[in-house]
Symmetry: C2
Subunit: 195 residues, 2 copies
DNA sequence: CTATAATGGTACAGACCTGTCTCTATCAAT
DNA sequence: ATTGATAGAGACAGGTCTGTACCATTATAG
């Protein structure tokens, strides 16, 4: 096996190019041939690293899973004893992600729209992303002593998903300030409410 | 030209079957051959009524456009002098739509995900749906004397889109009560706030 | 230097997709 | 009954897609 990793390996190159194209143009719209051409890789090399296109799509989502979950760990580490601050920073984090150039919506939602069949290999990771996100939100809400942590988690998740898709559909009608303001309103209402 | 319409014409049959399949399985996933087979129509008849598949997709979205815009007219007619009631009934209307069996997300958002290219023929109607919805919300917010009508419209649109996509991605984490409650909270905050 | 593993290039098979074409059958109006 | 519009059935072309096979090339390990 190779010791040096100076040159980017074929597998990582494929995954990088595929992620870029899948996210920008959609999974179904981007064919294997295009990925091979733009990553400068042989077709055989592709199929040696990914048995099927679906396997590549799952790997693409796994990457985003890590990216999307990291903020939860980060805010927990940064403010271990301040759950409300955790929630607020999660809001900032999502707003920043949306304001990033090249933003094209939520890759999990997008993939679920392209492959609605629960038998599809992508179904599992989309659900995992969603339930984990909801679980983390509920945990923070509970520690923040929200009156109804699950209600708050559901509402925040709804608003998060709404921000993600609205900013994608029509940039002009989205504002990170309006989003953050609405989210904080939902949080504050749950904190001042009697359980 | 035919006088009687007793038998469903080929065009409406195609559109009905295509709408069902496009909405359930996605536009790219459903081919012309399948639509022809399931609507019991000849291929020539199909292309006599729709020059291309894209034309059919646009017709499919036009149908949904009417469906999605109707509630705005209805609530306005029902409560012409009560804009807050209009907003509340719009919330109810959306919740009811989501709770309908066979619900599979927002057809406009779904199509935009499948065809992100602004040059695609579907782009225009998706934008039209979105801007019209936002405009109608802002109008009601203004008449309700919201402190910042455009802010409220943006936030409601975000929450509406979020409810639509969240209910699609994970039915278990969606609740029409939680949605309605969050929406009413945003409205009430804008009504009690000083301009 | 040699052996081994990873890679590039490319042709190809089989399926599916959109769209065109021809021919035949039906049906309503005159 | 004849005519003209509408519709069904299906072959076919040209392209694209996924996935396989074969062979030459490069680079690294021993």
């Amino acid at each position: 096996m190779p010791i040096t990793d100076k040159k980017e390996t074929a597998k990582t190159r494929i995954l990088r190019v595929a992620s870029y194209l899948f996210y920008r143009e959609g999974v179904r719209a981007v064919g294997i041939d295009r990925i091979i051409a733009e990553s400068g890789v042989a077709k055989a090399s592709f199929y040696r690293n990914f048995a099927t296109k679906d396997d590549l799509v799952v790997a693409y989502l796994e990457q985003f899973y890590d990216t999307f979950m990291k903020p939860f760990d980060e805010v927990k580490a940064r403010h271990p004893e301040e759950p409300v601050k955790q929630l607020y920073e999660l809001i900032e984090s999502l707003g920043a992600r949306i304001d990033t150039p090249g933003y094209r919506g939520c890759p999990f939602a997008n993939t679920a729209v392209e492959f609605p069949n629960p038998d599809h290999p992508t179904y599992e990771i989309v659900m995992r992303y969603h339930t984990d996100t909801r679980h983390n939100l509920a945990l923070a809400a509970e520690q923040a002593k929200a009156a109804e942590p699950n209600t708050l988690a559901d509402q925040l998740l709804m608003l998060f998903n709404g921000a993600l898709i609205t900013a994608y559909l029509d940039r002009a009608s989205y504002s990170s300030e309006h989003f953050a303001h609405a989210a904080k309103l939902l949080i504050q209402h749950q904190l001042t409410k009697k359980a």
